[in-house]
Subunit: 338 residues, 2 copies
DNA sequence: CGTTACACTGTAAGCGTTTACACCACAAAC
DNA sequence: GTTTGTGGTGTAAACGCTTACAGTGTAACG
């Protein structure tokens, strides 16, 4: 391709009549350089359109100035605010952002087939279950900076985590349904297998039931999968069990969409026959019919915070063990409020 | 940080009793290596958890195996399918993805302050107006592989572009409004200044009007900004002009959301008093009240295709000058259809 | 049995930076 | 007028790979 030779630091040095070390000092603002020399170098740099080559810097300095983000796949409404937060964080702190999707299989595919890790980033942001636990452990013992987003660390490992207050958010949501809307038979749709967010939401749900003296009924719990389609399936399952239901906590907002659609198809009215509530407050939530009662999760803030923690870990070796962001109850019509 | 020394190619070579050249051959599958040797090297690699360091490879091979994506900011519903497509493309082709937001200012901030470009990626995907035209020109003449997404090349430059059929999509949309719904006074909300998508949509709009003998009325055109908030403002502007309107082509779906909200606030019914149509068919479109008539743009496919073109350009020096993807009319209730 | 060919492997020269170290001039301190 | 800094600069050794080139050894050929 471009046989055309790019300017190197040596070209700049020669043209400015200084050594490459001095040019490097000017670029990185490390060490002392006289104002006159610096100005001369700067002008040659822009004259030559010189820009240092990342690979060479990385090799020499053992720093890539890049943060890696690992996720399973880019999908769902959840993703947009998260990425916005991560991008904001990396830009604020002067890092580049490298994205890698592990797709279906969180296990590292081939041994030498470099997945995003220590060889091309200074630290890694790991989203939920995008990475095999074994790989997390390996990276941890290799002392590679890691921050987990919306999941907790394997037992015993001191890896910083950033997530939202799932349990207390769910607790308040269910409290509201019971106390203000008089619900007693509330179904819960869990997230995909191993989703921690779902686990804590279920804990909040159970806690609320217990606090109100309502017995936990396993027939009211089924898989929602944090996914529209699975939400529809869940509704049909629940209805076929012929147990009484007056509300559905769909696990998350995406699932709620499918739930509301499916209920309408079954000829049931939301919220008159069955109230529906979600979790996350995705942008779409307020446009559903009826608008969705949910818990607002500060997805963007959490993502940004995770980057900050990661950079702190990279630079100082320290970071907060756990960052838990507060959630907020958002009441809309899908639960019967007017 | 990790004072712990990572395994290098030399460690692998020593342990396997071969030279580093041989290890390199095994890793890259270049050149001949006996099956026995290869197996031995492979086993040492996984034993040592060795993975080549990207910076060193990049420096030695003059390839980064990374594709850069430049955009202004990660925002809007548009972004999610686009990123999914780009990610799919890069993964299929074995590239990493580096994302850089130029944010407000498309001009390169400081001279030596490396924005994503020739120093850390093999090629660049440029989204709409995320990059200054001067910088595009510079990269072009530096022979750096470039593909433009949803914008066209500066005059005279042979830079491959990938976009959707905005003009014919808009043409069909307006044809439908006029012919099937009997609209004659159709307002058009343009995108932000310089947005090419908007330009072509307006061309389609004007072409349709002309074809039906409806005179173009500049009072029916105002800024929509491809943005919800600006959509609301636009509605108030239009109404204050006290010109007759029976439909609003909001420019894109995001704008439609604001338009519908604003119309409702003004006490107008959609579609009985004023029909509303958008463009893109974002996931949210079908959940609006009423569900939105729009033009489906293959955002994900376009993004994926752009990556393929870029990689072809990187590898062979050739790519299609223009890739135009077909759009599809999606009729829903917001235009009066039942 | 000497060639030739080819499969396999090693040697070493970069790639473009950063950075430890050394050096020099000149000013301030004795 | 010798010391002792201290800004300012240069030299050169890494950093961990890829790859051109130069060997080996063995099999097949004449």
């Amino acid at each position: 391709m471009s046989d055309y030779a790019r300017a190197t630091i040596a070209d700049v040095a020669e043209r400015a009549g200084v050594s490459i070390a001095t040019v490097s000092r000017v670029i990185n603002k490390t060490g002392q350089v006289s104002a006159a020399t610096a100005a001369r170098v700067e002008s040659v740099i822009s004259e030559l359109n010189y820009a240092p080559q990342a690979a060479a810097r990385g090799l020499a300095s053992r720093r890539t100035n890049t943060i890696g983000l690992i996720l399973r796949e880019i999908t769902g409404e959840f993703f947009q605010p998260m990425l916005r937060g991560i991008e904001a964080g990396t830009r604020e702190l002067g890092y580049d952002l490298l994205i890698h999707c592990t797709h279906r299989s969180p296990e590292v595919q081939s041994p030498a087939n470099y997945p995003l890790s220590e060889h091309n980033s200074d630290g890694l942001l790991v989203f939920t279950d995008s990475l095999d636990e074994a790989e997390i452990i390996r990276l941890y013992y290799a002392q590679f900076p890691l921050v987990l987003l919306h999941r907790s660390a394997p037992p015993g490992l001191h890896i910083p985590c950033v997530t939202c207050e799932n349990k207390s958010g769910a607790r308040r949501l269910i409290d509201y349904l019971i106390e203000q809307r008089g619900c007693r038979r509330i179904a819960f749709l869990s997230g995909p297998d191993g989703a921690e967010d779902s686990y804590w939401r279920e804990m909040g749900y159970r806690e609320s039931l217990a606090a109100h003296g309502i017995p936990f009924d396993p027939r009211l719990v089924t898989l929602g999968g944090f996914d529209q389609h699975q939400g529809r399936i869940a509704v049909h399952q629940l209805l076929s069990r012929s147990v009484q239901i007056d509300a559905i906590f769909a696990g998350d907002d995406d699932t709620s969409i499918g739930v509301i659609d499916a209920l309408k198809e079954e000829g049931l009215r939301v919220p008159e026959d069955i109230a529906v509530v979600g979790f996350d407050d995705i942008p779409l939530a307020r446009y559903l019919t009826p608008p969705l009662t949910t818990v607002r999760a500060p997805i963007e803030t959490a993502a940004r915070e995770a980057v900050h923690q990661l950079v702190r870990l990279i630079r100082t070796g320290e970071a907060d063990r756990l960052t838990l962001l507060p959630t907020e109850l958002i009441i809309r019509r899908s639960c019967g409020a007017t």
